[in-house]
Symmetry: D3
Subunit: 251 residues, 6 copies
C-alpha cells in the first residue's frame, strides 16, 4: 500500500494487522553532469514502490522525505539542504505523528550517504524524548527505528560490481543513475560527455572545497555507463532485499 | 524544467535567465473515505508539473514540500504533521539554500488551507533574519516570497462551481479529489458510499474535536462526484492560471 | 476582572465559575504620521477593558501580549517585532501557564492583521504538543483557543464604513486611530498633514519594500478623519460584540 | 516620550539626538492577598512613565515587557511565566529590532527579582551572537545593555526602610504594593486581613515548594501597611533616580 | 565516589542510600597573565574531589561541566563559551538524565561568576518543564537544584582576606589562581610580571569593552601572590564547607 | 600545550604559528562491571595528553567535551546524555568561539562510537551556517573539522587484536578499559567477576532494549583481561598515531 494514494480507512485497516511503515528518505543535490538532482530521493522511492508492487499486502510505503543533509553539495546549483537540527526536528515530528496512530516500527529506506549521521542522531533524539519523559514513557511497549541504505545489501552490491567493474564510484555512481533512469526513462541523458571519464576520488568536507576538488560533482564514478536496463536489474534486486528485510522487521 | 529530474548544469543555465522557482507545498492528511491522504501535496504537484509541460522554458518546478501542518487531522490514521516551528525552520532552510544559488523569487504553490498560516509565518521569519542581520542584509537586492493556493484563481473557482454546484465542500472537496484522480487514475475509488451524501459543515479546532464532529473526515463535501475527467479540466485551468502568474512574478 | 490588577485569590475564585480568559494581543509598529506605534496593542486592550467594565463578573481580561509580528514595518523607527518562532514559543508558555491553573478556553482578541498567521500557527503548535504527548494527553477534556480580530464583527464593520465611507484604509486606518485617541485623548495629533490625503493601496512583502512603496506608513487610509468621538462609538460597538461572543465561548 | 503613544516620525526625530531607550520589564505573578498579579510589571512602568513626565525630552520609554520568569509562582492562580529560553529569545528580538533603527543603549528597568538571572543571560546571548558573527560584527560601535532593578537605588531603599521599618519583606513587599496602589488607586484593597501579620521568611525553589511553604504567597512582608500616599513618595524617589541614571547612561 | 571513575553498579548502590550528586561547573576563559584558562572549571573540580576524599561514602561527584558562559572574555584567545540558551539545554539534559536514574538533589558547585545568571535560568527552565507537563508532573516528589559558588562560604572568604589583604581582586583573583596551582603544581607560573601590580577595577559588559578596559585580563587583582601553599589552605577550607553543606542538602 | 592549564598569552603565541587545536570528545556512560562510566571521555583525554607530552610544541589540546550522546545507555545508573540537538548546539558554540580567535582546524579526538553520528551532524550544521550567511561567508578561507576515533588507526587496531585475540568486544572493550586503568591506576578493579566471561554480541536500539539484552552492560567483551600494562602500550601507540595525523592535518 502506498500511503499518499491511500485513504485513512485503508490505514486504519492496515494498523489492525501491522505496526510497520517504510519511509523512503533522500536528498536533493547535484549528481554530476548526467545524474538527476533528485537521485537520492528517487532511488529509495522507486525501490520501495517496486517492492510494494511485489507484495502490496506486506508493505506500506509512506511519503518520501525528499530533502535531507546536503550542505557539502551547496556549491552546485539546485542543491537544497536542511540543517541537521531541522532534519532531526522533522523526522521527530513524522515519527510522533505515526506513533500517535499506533505505528511502532519505522523503516527508513535511505538513499543518501550524507544523511546517515543525521538519521542516526534523529533516532537518538526521538528515543531521548521518551527517556526524559517525566513519567517514564520509555518503559512502554517499544518503538523501533531502523535505517537501511538501499545499496547496502549483499545482493545489490554484488550486482553493481558485476555491472560496473570499473567506475562505479562513490558519488553520482553508475548504479544510482541507472536506478533513476529506470524510474524516469524519458529523462535519461545519453549524450553527456565527461572528462576525465572516471572522476577522481578524494575526501569531502564542505561546499567550497567540494566544488573546487570535484568540479563536475562526481566522485570516482563513470555514470556514462548507466542505463534503463541496468536500473531495472538493480531495482529488482534491491526491492527483493528490502521486502524480505521489512518482513523480518515486522515480525 | 523539473528540478528533481534535472542536472546541476541545467539549473546553472536556468539561473542565467531567471531567478524564479515554483515549489509545490502540501500536506499528508486524511481526505475522507475516497480521497487520498496525499491529496494536498499531489494537487499542487500535478498542477505545477502540468504547467511546466506547457512551457518548459518558462517554469522551474522544485521538489514538493509534501508534509505540512495537519495537527487537526491527527485523529485519522495516516495523517503526518510537522509542528509549525519545524515547518518554519524547514522552509527557511529550503529558501536559504536556494538564495545561495542566486534564486530571488520563490513561488510556493500551496495545496492545503491548514498550511496558510505557517507559510506566512515562515515568510516573516525568513525576512526577519535578513532584517536582524548585523550588517543590514535586508538592504540587498530583494527576496520575494509568494504563496498561492491553487484553487484561488477566479477561473478555477468558476469551473469548480460549475462542475459541483452542490457538495463541493471545504475539506475532501470534489475538486481536489478529481485532481488527484486525474493524476493517479489507477487509484480512483469509485465504489465508496458515504453517509450523509453531503458531509456536514462546521468549525474545526484540534484533532480530537475534528474526528468527533466529522467522523468520516469530510467537511461539507460530496466527493463521490469526483472523476478523472473533471480533474483534467481543473488541472488545465489551474495550470494555465499558475503559468500566467509565474510569468508575471518573474518579470 | 482585570488580571493584572487582581489578586491570586480573585483568580482562584474566578476559576470556580469559569475556565475562560480574554487576552488582548497586538503589535508595536508604525501607524503612519498621526497613529501611535502601539495602536494594535492598545485597540484590543481598550476594547477588552471596556467590555469588562460592562460586565465585570462575566469577563476576565489578561495582560496584553503587546509585541507581535511586525517584520514588514521594521523600515520605520520604533517598530519592534518578534520572530514568528519566538511568538509561538511565548504564546505557548502563556497558554501552558494558564492551563496549569485550570483555564481551558483562551480568547485572543487580536489587533493586528500581521499577527493572524502566527497566532494560528501557535494554536497548531500548542495542540500538536498535546497530540504528541507520549501518554495521549490530547484525549483529555479540551483546550479551546480562539482568535478574534476586533474589527471583524459585522456591527463594527458597518459602523466603520458609516463613519469613514472614504479613506478607511487597511493600515493606519481611520478607525483604529480613533480607538486609540479615545483611549489616550491627551495624545491625539490633530495637526498632522498628510500627502496624499488618502494613502495609496498596494501589496506588502518585507520591510524594505514597505517603506519604499508606502513612505509615510499608511496604506489606503486617511486617518486625519480620526477623533475621540468616533473612537468612543467604535469601542462601544466592539466591546458589546466581544462581550457577547465571550459569553457564548464560555458556555 | 512614550513609544507606544508616539508616532514613527517622533522616534525618527528622537534618534537624531539619542540612541537610548528605557524598557520596563516585569512579571505577571501572585503578590499575596492584597497585591496585584501585575505588580512587578506595573511598578517599573509607573516609575518609568513618571520619570518621563519629569523630563519628556530626556527619556524615551518603550513598551513594557510584562511577562517574565515566574515558574516558582505557578502554584498560585493567575501567574503566567515564560520559560527562560523563550524570554531570552524575546528580549533578543526586541533588541535586534531596536538596533536596526539605530538604538545602541537599552536600559531595562526591572521590577522582578526572578527576572534578574534571565535578563543577564539574555544580555550574554545577544552579545554572543555579535561575537559569533562570521564577519566580526562585535568590533562595530557598541551596544550597551543595562539592567536596573527599580528598588536598587540608595535613595529608594532608604525611603522604604523609613516607611516600613518592620515587615517590608522580600516578596509582595509593602513598597511595591504601595507603588501599584499609587498607580491604580481605584483598585486598592484596604480590607484584606493576613495571618500571620508578617509573613514568614525562607527560601524558594519551585512552584510546589513555594505554595506549600508560603501559603498566601507573601515572603517576610506585611503589605497591609501599603498606601497610595507611600506609593507616591516611592515613585517620586525612584523616578528621580532613574532619570539621573538614564542621563548618565546616555552620555 | 567520583562518578567518572566509578562503575554503574557503584552508582546503583549509591542510589540505594542517597539521591544526591555534586556537579562541579565552571568556565574556560582567560585568567590574566599567570592564571590558567581552565581556572573556573578546575577550582570547583579540585575542591569537590578533595571533599570527596575526606568522606568518600558521603559524596558523589559527577563529571565537571567545564565550559560555561564567557562571552565577555572572548576578546582573549583561548576562551570558549556556550550561548546561555545552549548551556540551559545542556544542564537540562544532564538533569533529566540524572532524574531518570532516581537522583533528586543536584548540587552544582560553581566556579564562575559569569555562570550564575544562566545556572539560575536553567533551574527555572527545568522546573518549568515539570510545571508545564500535561499530566501535572510537578506534583511528584521533588527535585532540588542548588547552586553554590565555591568562594561563597564565610570560612573561605575570611581565609582569602587573611591571605590577600591587598589585591585579592574580582577576576583572576589571587585565591583562585592559588587553588589551581595547588591542583596543578607542575604548571605554576612564578616568573610573570604584571603592570600595574594590582589591576584596575571596573565594570564589564561585552568582549570588546572588556579587552579594551582590562588589557591583561585581570580585574582588581594581584595574582603574583598566588602559591601552592595558599591553594592547599583554601582548598581545605572550601572542601570542608562543601562537605558539610552537601550533607545538610542530602538530609 | 594543554589549553586548560595554559594562559591566554600562551594561546596568543600559539596562534602565531598554528591554527590547529585537538579536542578530546567522549561520553559519560556505563562500561560494564569493571569499566569506568567516564571511559569514553577519559580515553581520548589520556591519549591526547600523552601525545602532547611527546611534542608540546606541536600540539594544543583543548578541554574535553566529556558528555555526549548516550541515550541507549540510560538504562544503567550514572549514564548522562545530551540530546543530539543539544550536542550540535554545544559543538557549534565551541567551534565559533575558537574561530573568533583564529583557529581554523579543529581535530576532534573521539572516544565513543555513539557520538559519531552527532559529531558528523554537528559538522554539517556548522558548515551550513556559513553557507547560509547572507554575505557568503563560506567563501572565506576555510574551516576544517575532522573527527578521529582513537581506536581507528591501523597500529592501534593491530595491537588490540594482539593483546586480546578473544573477547576484545565492541562495548566495554578490553582495550578501552586498559587505557583508563593506565590513566587511573588507583581505580583499577581487579576482582570483578563476570558471567558469561565473554558478553554476548548483538544489536542495540534504545535504553530499555539495551539493558534487557545486555544486562551487565558489556557487548562482546571480556574486560577482565584489562591491565595497566596493556593500557600503557595502547596509549603509546595511539598517541603516536594521533601526533602524526595532527601534524599532517596542520600542514
Amino acid at each position: 500500500m502506498l500511503l499518499p494514494v491511500s485513504t485513512w480507512p485503508d490505514i486504519e485497516s492496515w494498523l489492525k494487522r501491522s505496526k510497520t511503515i517504510v519511509v523512503p528518505i533522500g536528498s536533493m543535490e547535484q549528481h554530476g553532469p548526467n545524474g538527476f538532482i533528485g537521485t537520492d530521493a528517487l532511488c529509495p522511492e522507486i525501490i520501495a514502490r517496486h517492492a510494494e508492487s511485489l507484495a502490496p499486502d506486506d508493505m506500506l510505503v509512506g511519503p518520501t522525505f525528499s530533502v535531507g543533509c546536503a550542505q557539502h553539495h551547496l556549491g552546485f546549483p539546485g542543491t537544497i539542504t536542511l540543517r541537521p537540527s531541522t532534519m532531526i526536528a522533522a523526522m521527530a515530528d513524522w515519527t510522533e505523528s505515526l506513533m500517535r496512530h499506533g505505528f511502532e516500527r519505522i523503516y527508513w529506506l535511505n538513499g543518501h550517504g550524507g544523511n546517515i549521521a543525521t538519521i542516526e542522531a534523529a533516532f537518538s533524539e526521538i528515543h531521548a524524548r521518551r527517556s526524559f519523559d517525566l513519567r517514564g514513557a520509555d518503559n512502554r511497549p517499544g518503538l523501533k527505528l531502523k535505517r537501511r541504505d538501499w545499496w547496502d545489501f549483499k545482493s545489490v552490491m554484488t550486482l553493481c560490481n558485476q555491472l560496473y567493474p570499473v567506475g562505479h564510484g562513490s558519488h553520482a555512481t553508475a548504479s544510482e543513475v541507472s536506478v533513476t533512469y529506470y524510474g524516469y526513462p524519458d529523462h535519461t541523458r545519453t549524450d553527456v560527455e565527461m572528462s576525465p571519464k572516471i572522476a577522481p576520488n578524494g575526501k569531502i568536507s564542505d561546499a567550497v572545497q567540494y566544488r573546487r576538488d570535484f568540479p563536475d560533482g562526481r566522485i570516482g564514478s563513470d555514470p556514462t555507463q548507466s542505463s534503463v536496463e541496468d536500473g531495472e536489474k538493480i531495482v529488482g534486486a534491491a526491492a527483493k532485499a528490502v521486502l524480505e528485510e521489512v518482513r523480518r522487521f515486522s515480525a
